[in-house]
Symmetry: C7
Amino acid sequence: MVMPLALLEKSMNKKISLMLKDNRILEGKLTGYDEYMNMVIEETEERTADASRRLGVVILRGNNVVSISPL
Amino acid sequence: MVMPLALLEKSMNKKISLMLKDNRILEGKLTGYDEYMNMVIEETEERTADASRRLGVVILRGNNVVSISPL
Amino acid sequence: MVMPLALLEKSMNKKISLMLKDNRILEGKLTGYDEYMNMVIEETEERTADASRRLGVVILRGNNVVSISPL
Amino acid sequence: MVMPLALLEKSMNKKISLMLKDNRILEGKLTGYDEYMNMVIEETEERTADASRRLGVVILRGNNVVSISPL
Amino acid sequence: MVMPLALLEKSMNKKISLMLKDNRILEGKLTGYDEYMNMVIEETEERTADASRRLGVVILRGNNVVSISPL
Amino acid sequence: MVMPLALLEKSMNKKISLMLKDNRILEGKLTGYDEYMNMVIEETEERTADASRRLGVVILRGNNVVSISPL
Amino acid sequence: MVMPLALLEKSMNKKISLMLKDNRILEGKLTGYDEYMNMVIEETEERTADASRRLGVVILRGNNVVSISPL
């Protein structure tokens, strides 16, 4: 059994990909999170079909997140 | 009586299909979950009418899930 | 007085019809539920105006359900 | 002062009309409810501008309800 | 300081106007409410730009209400 | 550090502007609020690009509010 | 580990950029926040693709926020 928050813990300081409710895809290094799945992402890039945009450090509210994948 | 979380427990390490609120269909092996139905899915594939896309390991937030079926 | 959860209890192992928030209609045998109206449905079929699709066993999250009818 | 739940209590076994968030109108006899305004409705009919459809017994989740009127 | 619920209390048995999340406007006499801003409205009329419709007694769920004005 | 509710307290009996989730802009004098950011606004006007409409006293449910600015 | 609220604390009195659920971008100096990520922003500007609008001091409700970036 891998608890969802335990997998976040294991992903600390590694690159993850996030899909948000508004369909945006973010990629970056996970450097923090809390019990609500609020996260701190560094070196964040927003990826769309044909472009990518640098967002740097981002605090992301958990209730906007659909799914998270270690990269 | 089969409690919903008990059926998740019984589906551990087996293939499941998930329908999300945004109508996406994910398939993969359930390797973890918590009381909020947040889940960890491995070997995840997103299936649409005419294609499938590999997502690998995915942490899925439970409040985006409509339904879950053992495969 | 028929409490809503008591009617679910009375519907155990019987066929029910469910309307979801996304307007889909599911029919199947209720084999489990919890206090949040998460449900386990077996022999589930999704019915639309002109077709029906077999979904088998389904764990349904209660917050996607609009209404439930014993059949 | 008429508390909202007290008026539901007074409407027990009487005909009520319900407006749902998806704009559907249901009419039927209230035979049960709980503190979340989940309701059991019997002899339920769904009314639209030009038709009505029999739904029989319905368990309705309270969070889909906009308003309730005794008939 | 006028607490929001205290102004509801002061509006008891008086006419109020309500704007709902679906943009409908209701007018009627407030005869009850609870801590969730569920309300009982009597002699309710739904007003649109070019018409008004009598709804009589209405139990309104608070989470559908945007704003309330004493008339 | 200015706590959000402390700034509401400091805005009491002063003019504020509110943006609602449905994009409407309200302006008026804040005369009350509670911990959920439900508010009582007096001399309220709804402003759109080309018109303004008097709403008088308004009880506003906090969960419809996006942002609040002292004027 | 950088807890999300700790990064907000570290951003106090500094410029941040916020993305809201309605896709608006706000920039300004963070001068306060609470545990729900309600925030007080000063010298706030709303930025769109081709314009920027001064909003001054803004109390922002946390549940409308998607992401926050220190600038």
